[in-house]
Subunit: 110 residues, 2 copies
DNA sequence: TGGCTACTTGGCTATTTAGCCAAATATGTC
DNA sequence: GACATATTTGGCTAAATAGCCAAGTAGCCA
């Protein structure tokens, strides 16, 4: 009886891992507004271009974004807009955490 | 002009990182069905008890699960059921990836 | 108290990841 | 072709993470 953790969970984890970084979440959020090229994102993030490029390739390998070369820039777009819903859920967790934290403080004050 | 990646994105990333592991996703999926104690999960996962315990504490620190001690077992429950929706979105990405992959194969065959 | 079961913590190693710099590649212009 | 711009790739180091084993803690029962 063991190892009910399987390929499905590994596939999920691969996608989720690709999302698990502040800069990459910023990119996702920005792409929600429309396509952006690597240079735009690099400037907004304020890190080395190579670093941002690697973040973009992580997102691309996970299938979260698509890229298209036009002129001498590469434009990135979101492939599955549903990712925002997911962020909504994360916000829900965060606000639940904040509420609980506030309760603990209130309780200690008494 | 830089560093529009901020605390919000870091907070998101912390939660998402907690989800980004096959065993932890298995735990989330299992808890969806109802509470489970650490021992049950350990047996199902088939890893060392200390390993599973650490996964549970990662989930707990992120505020994703809650624990309750009863008798000499510790029972874990999901704190925000919306996490499942999020997994729905991950599945959507995976099926989009599969479809694209199939198209590439089809195209090469011609 | 002593011993049992259930779980967590500490300590260690191996692996993965993030970030920078420097170098390579690709496109567009003169 | 030479050169500029935009982006990626390779190489390296520092930091984070996963996993095991061994030791510690906590509740229960005799």
């Amino acid at each position: 009886m063991a190892n009910r953790v399987n390929t499905k969970h590994e596939a999920w984890a691969r996608i989720i891992k690709a999302l698990a970084h502040p800069s990459r979440l910023f990119i996702i959020e920005e792409l929600q507004k429309g396509e952006r090229c690597a240079g735009d994102l690099t400037e907004m993030i304020g890190a080395d271009a190579s670093t941002v490029s690697k973040h973009l390739s992580v997102l691309k390998n996970a299938g979260l974004v698509a890229d298209e070369k036009r002129a001498n820039s590469i434009y990135y777009t979101l492939r599955c807009p549903c990712i925002l819903d997911f962020i909504g859920c994360v916000e829900e967790v965060l606000s639940a955490n904040a509420k609980e934290h506030a309760n603990i403080l209130k309780c200690c004050k008494k």
